[in-house]
Symmetry: C2
Subunit: 244 residues, 2 copies
Amino acid sequence: MDLTEANELIINSLKKNYIITIFCSCSVEYTGRAKSYIARGDRLIIIKHDGTVLVHKPDGRSPVNWMPSKTFISPIIEDEMLTIKCSNSGEAMNAKIFEVYNITAAPLLDIEQLRINGTESDMSNMIYANPTLISEDFVPSSREEQTKYGFLDVFGHNGKGELVIVECKRYTASLDAVTQLRRYVERVKKTRGVKKVIGVIAAPNISNNAAKMLNDWGFTYKSINPPDRFPEKEKSQRKIKEFY
Amino acid sequence: MDLTEANELIINSLKKNYIITIFCSCSVEYTGRAKSYIARGDRLIIIKHDGTVLVHKPDGRSPVNWMPSKTFISPIIEDEMLTIKCSNSGEAMNAKIFEVYNITAAPLLDIEQLRINGTESDMSNMIYANPTLISEDFVPSSREEQTKYGFLDVFGHNGKGELVIVECKRYTASLDAVTQLRRYVERVKKTRGVKKVIGVIAAPNISNNAAKMLNDWGFTYKSINPPDRFPEKEKSQRKIKEFY
DNA sequence: ATATAGATCTCGTCA
DNA sequence: TGACGAGGTCTATAT
C-alpha cells in the first residue's frame, strides 16, 4: 500500500476514534523510562482510540514496544517513510514504517467488563469465611483492609489474646512472601506493643528457602488452594514437614 | 462477514502460520489460573503463529484475555457461533464470536531483537564503574551476581573490612526494596558470620515509609539517577534528611 | 499525585 | 524444571 495513502487513512481513522491495525515493516525507537531500538522487521501496530499504541512482533505475548493511553499520536511522511510519532509527558516512541501490507480501521464498542474470580482477594475471602482452614481457634476480624498496621490479607486472633496475621499467595510462596509477612508482623508488634504475633503463610506451596526462612522466624505455613483453580498436580505438592 | 467463511479463513491462515487479526463481537470465558468471563462486546482478537492469542478491548494497554504461546487453537462453528477454542496444559479460553467485522491474515517475518538500556542492570554497572557514587571508600567486588549469598546488585567493602551491599532501584524505593535489602544483608551476615554489613539503597527517590524502615534497620540511602533517563522533576525529589 | 501490592502478571536467568 | 528477581512492568485501590 502506498505510504501517503496509508498516512491519510490513519489520520482519518484517528479523527473518527477508530481502532487501527497496521501490518507493516518498521523500525521502532523509544526514549523515556529507558531507551530502546529495534531494527526493521515485520510487525503489527495497534492504535486504540484512548491513545494506546502497541507494537507486536509476529510471536510472543508481550508487545515489543508500546505507549500507554492518552498518548499523542501524529503520523507523518518524512524521508520517504511513514513515521508514527507518539509522545506524552516524559516518553516518546517513533515507529518508522518502510512498507505497509495492510491497514484495517473500525469503530469498536465494548461496554462490558471482565468478571474474574480465583484471585488472591477471593482466597482471603474464603479464609475469612472459613477460618478453620487456618486453624481450629483462628478468629478473623478483618480481611484485605488497610488497617493502621498496613494492608493485611486476613487479620484476627486465636482466642487466647494472640494476634494472627495471614498472608495469602495464589502460587508457591517465595522468600518475598515471607519477608512481606515478617514486615507486617513487626509493624503490628511495634504498633500494638506486643511481643508475640502469629504469622501464617497460606498458599498451595512454599519454596524450600522460603520454608527455611519461615521456620527461622517462627511463622507457620498452611497449605491452601485458592478457589476455582484446577487441582494442583501431586508432584508439585511440597511437604512442609521435611523442613522441620 | 459470514461466520462459516470466517472460520475457513482462520483455519487456512493457521495452517500457513499467518498472524491473524479479527475485528469482531464476542464473549470470552477463561478457566485456568483463575476463572473469568466477559459478555458480548466488540473486540480485536490477535492470533500469532507461535500459538499466542490476545483479546483486546477497544481501549487499554493490556489484553482483557489471552493465552500464552504454544496454545492449541481450534476454531469451530457451534450453535450458530464461531468459537475459537484455545487450550494448553492447565488452561482453556473460548472466544465465542457472534459477528465478524474484519479478518486480516498475513505472514510476518521479524528476526530483529529489541536493544534496550537504562535498566536496573545498567544502573548497577554504572555504580560498579563509579563507586564514589555510593561513598568515597566503597570498593565494589562484584555486580549483579548470583553469589552464594544470593543475588546482589552491587557487592563490595569499604576498605575497613566491612562488607557493603547496594540494592539499586530505578524509581522511588519502596518498602519492598528495603525488605529485599534487609534479606540480603541478613543472608550475608549469616553466611559470613559477621555482625556488621552495610546496606545501601541506591535510587532516585525513596518513599517516606521506606526511609523510616531504612533508618530503623541502620541502612543508608544514596540518591542516584539511573543512566539514560529524563531528569527527575525537582518537585518529586525527596529530602532524605527529613527522616533523620 | 503518591504509595502500596496484586497479576491468568511476563520474561529471562541460573541452579 | 523450579526458583528468583526485574520490568519502559500494568492495574487497581487507598491516602
